[in-house]
């Protein structure tokens, strides 16, 4: 196997871990309350802008930027839940779709208005540079994003399956009325889910900002990837999103290298449709 091919696969895995990170929030919100959040990619975009503002105003790197992005986005998540989601959940499916879609446009064009349409970028050296390991080139910023992504995704999974908070959230997801009779407040649990989900996207945005460009419309590009990852992994499944993210990253890189970059999306989507044909609930989703 050629050396370049190993580099391609490693690059794909790191990319995939990041896909997993920004998809975990989307899958969590779906699993909890059957809401498809069309503003998801724009939450990631906001995380990127928080990192950018931290860098330009305070000269801070990801150690300041990432936690702040989590905090800002988690707060926004709670505000969005009480201000919008709680009400539109009572409406028809169309209200939910248009509600979050409207939110996406509001966020996107607010950032447009405030920061302008110019492309921004964090300096390359803000996270470590590049390591050469046995001829492989590993970018520190991607490595950091990949490792944090895996840890956070696993952490989210453990939170849901091993803690009492997780059990309460799952109980609300299963049957909100029954959970309420057991003394659990669905409102609180769902607000917490939004805080966690939005916080995760904020973290993803702040980490991606270290190696990606920043522009108000970047959420469009990233949002599509998140949807594919979540549906391949199985709506509602956090470990599913992790596996799916890694898979998509590797398939994208390999097909881009071996067949041709223009065709990589075609390869990913053909495999994706083919897979869903046999397993419509996704890798780890429930029917």
């Amino acid at each position: 196997m050629s050396f370049v091919l190993v580099q391609v696969i490693v690059g794909g895995l790191l990319l995939g871990a990041v896909y997993a990170l920004f998809s975990s929030g989307l899958t969590l919100v779906w699993g909890m309350m059957n809401i498809v959040n069309f503003a998801h990619g724009d939450f990631v975009m906001l995380g990127m802008y928080v990192a950018y503002v931290v860098y330009t105003l305070m000269g801070g790197g990801p150690i300041v930027g990432a936690p702040l992005a989590v905090l800002v986005l988690a707060t926004l998540g709670v505000v969005v839940y009480f201000g919008l989601i709680r009400d539109i959940m009572k409406g028809p499916m169309l209200a939910q779709i248009l509600g979050t879609f409207g939110l996406a446009l509001l966020l996107r064009y607010s950032v447009f208005w405030w920061f302008g349409a110019d492309f921004k970028s964090l300096p390359q050296n803000i996270v470590g540079g590049t390591y050469a390991v046995a001829g492989l080139r590993l970018e520190a910023s991607r490595l950091l994003a990949g490792i944090v992504a895996m840890l956070v995704t696993l952490g989210l999974h453990l939170l849901l399956t091993r803690t009492s908070l997780g059990s309460k959230m799952l109980a609300v997801a299963e049957d909100a009325t029954a959970a309420q009779l057991m003394g659990i407040r669905p409102d609180t649990m769902q607000a917490i889910a939004w805080a966690i989900a939005a916080g995760a996207t904020g973290l993803a945005g702040a980490l991606i900002a270290n190696f990606f460009y920043i522009v108000p419309t970047v959420g469009e590009t990233l949002g599509i990837v998140a949807f594919v990852t979540v549906s391949l992994g199985g709506f509602g499944s956090v470990p599913g999103a992790l596996v799916a993210g890694l898979l998509i990253g590797v398939i994208e890189s390999l097909s881009g290298f071996l067949i041709g970059a223009v065709y990589k999306d075609i390869v990913v989507y053909i495999l994706f449709l083919f897979f869903l044909w046999f397993r419509p609930q996704g890798l780890m989703g429930k029917m």
Binding site: L15, Y213, A261
Partner: protein, 417 residues
Amino acid sequence: MALKLATRLLCAAVLSVVLAGGAQAEDKVVKIGVILPMSGSTASIGAHAKAALEVATDIINNAHPELDKLPLANNAGLAGLGGAKVELVIADNQGSPATGQNQALRLITEEKVVAILGAYQSGITLTSSAIAEKYGIPYLTPESVAANLTERGFKWFFRTTPIAPDFVRIYDEFLSDMKAAGAKTDTIALVHDNTEYGTSVANTITAGFKAKGRTGVIDVAYAVNATDVQAQVLQLKEKRPDVVLMISYTSDAILFAKTMQSLDYKPPMLLADDAGYSDPSFIKAVGKLSQGVFNRSSFAVGPAGSPSAVIADMYKKKSGEEMEDTVGREMQGFFVLVDAIDRAGSTDPAKIQAALKATDLKPEQLIMGYKGVKFDEKGQNVLASAYIIQLQDGENYVSVWPKGNAEKAPLMPYKGW
């Protein structure tokens, strides 16, 4: 209650009549419609172009004797129309061909513009100019390069910018000169996106190079707005072309620069086909990682006191940005259009069309490095041309080719970061 409302409405009506009357009594105004991407993913270009056109409007509407070589600059307003002032009516194309078409219709039927300038993206110029053709209103595109725009047999369509066949000639001559100076130019990788711009330019260059005996052309295509370009960079790294020619919009150009650094890939020569590489936000974001990149441009600041230097200064004061090729072409197209209206001495579309057809501007009357402006029967400027510029220090482009126009000698090989 109803009475109160009726009184208010009446007052409003009277007020509007008075205001409208006042407006009529003002100086004569020539309205020109401009269609640009003011929102959507190329909105940064729209914002810069708007600032450039406002500078151009100032030059036309007020006396600027320091720019006396340019037509229209010396006196205030349009002499041919009794000193009438020019007014811009800017419409947002939102990056969508359908919106561009609607805006053209609105500009013509409601705003009553005498001519239209637009629309940056070739796909939108295609749809909006069809409306102008139908209504018999002159339409000039200063910057859209897709070849088919001037192949439609339109009577009201004009284009001032150089297009793909011109690029082939410029790149071929530049590469030959570089080869004579000792650079290797045998294999050339064309890296391009899959939009109308990327594919049409890449196809024309491939065919043109082949006709000129350049056979070592490698095609590396990718999907526009990529999330990741590691695979393409690794492909280039493996194939080791002598020259990498980039045909990319801003977002992809930034991603390529970052990825090339992280994978430690430097081609011996990196040559860019304008577009994203001319966007000031590209230089701000990754200029320091792209030191030594060559770029095609029809704009060079030139010596102090020259029209291009004076205008670059005015543009910087207005927008805070350095003047670059895209906004320069935008301004130049606007000057050509308004010059024709001035010479027509009338706002009658047919007279403006005739004046455009008779356009014959000399290089010293322009702010761009064209050899002049003269339209063929398809409406294409046959004297359009370009320079090669280089981002030597990662902060500002300097003109390096052709020799007669060079501020500095080209630096080789590509330095990167």
